[in-house]
Subunit: 213 residues, 2 copies
């Protein structure tokens, strides 16, 4: 069987090929860590992103070195990770984490004109769902913004969602083993100091899904 | 003034040069996203890490391609990001996130013998603080494990912890603005299915600091 470069080789039993699980992770996470190479020096840049169908969308300043480099279509990797807990084993060697991590290989391409404006609306709707009242970008703001898309075609996904698998010889060690979940929840909204009087927190915020991270 | 390649150029007002703030972020975060370049293809690999003084420690399998590549001392970048909330502005353009993100440039080096064993103890103590009862690695497990360190020397840190700075002309727009914090908290521990009877959750778990992510 041929192996793709996106295949999981370490801990292959944690590889998940179900695209629905990938999409659920991409819809929960807020930030992708994206590779930008400059000569022999790689950089890893955290970028807010949104999934739109089979694409990952990111936006940034047209003046950003990272965005200019990514817009050239250089090979990149966008990795999206959510830590779901710590796995406490009876041995240090078997202790680990619960996590979901996706790696997407490919190249970004810049969106233009109507596609770019649509991309920004998708980003706004995904990152701040239900808050339609914010002013859309002006022509000047649009000119200052780059929107890039990455097709989700070559990807791998690792999910660790179980318990430690201690050696049988460690099972009678008198120490606790289990999982301590790490939860990502919304706190109480803090109004802006310059908020006009009489404006309440939008009801949509109260229905934002938990688990975004 | 000369600029270092690790200097923040976009949104320089968010650059923080206080090493204590950097260290607090590194001590809160559980995962670094690390660049590994293979030919023209960069990869971004999520790695559990621990800070020990002025070093970042990571551990993995000696069979891991990423660890073998990093152990050669190739130039890399380790980026550590925690998302602290969503910033809701009166314009889409000014909407953003609260976050802390550190970028560390340099090269990993492998630890050996006593340094490697000490590194693993630091990782265990930092990732699962207070749980000293787990069995330390056997000679075989040690041979199967690579421990790498990265000196925290060339780094940059961006912190966004405020509110949106909307244009004056947007301030009377009748929409809410503020911050919705994203909190990272421990859930109720789940005992392993094969846990021996009578073992309670260690008291140390109850005192783990919140905000790890």
């Amino acid at each position: 069987m041929s192996r793709a470069r996106s295949d999981v080789r370490r801990l292959p039993e944690k590889q998940v090929r179900d695209r629905a699980v990938l999409e659920a992770l991409l819809d929960a996470a807020l930030v992708a860590h994206v590779a930008v190479v400059d000569g022999s020096q790689p950089y890893v840049v955290p970028l807010a992103f949104a999934r739109e169908g089979d694409r990952l969308l990111v936006h940034g300043s047209t003046a950003s070195r990272a965005f200019r480099a990514l817009a050239t279509g250089a090979p990149t990797c966008a990795t999206v990770t959510v830590v779901d807990g710590l796995v406490v084993a009876r041995s240090q060697f078997e202790s680990s984490m619960r996590y979901r991590s996706a790696m997407i290989l490919g190249s970004f391409a810049a969106l233009h004109n109507g596609d770019k404006e649509r991309g920004l609306q998708v980003l706004a709707a995904r990152l701040l769902p239900g808050l339609e009242g914010a002013r859309p970008p002006s022509a000047k703001e649009l000119r200052a913004t780059t929107v890039l898309e990455l097709v989700i075609e070559e990807w791998s996904l690792k999910v660790s969602d179980g318990h430690a698998e201690d050696d049988a010889s460690d099972l009678d060690r008198p120490v606790w083993a289990g999982v301590v979940p790490l939860q990502h929840t919304w706190g109480a909204p803090e109004p802006a100091p310059d908020l006009a009087p009489g404006l309440e927190v939008p009801p949509a915020v109260a229905s934002w899904p938990e688990g975004r991270a």
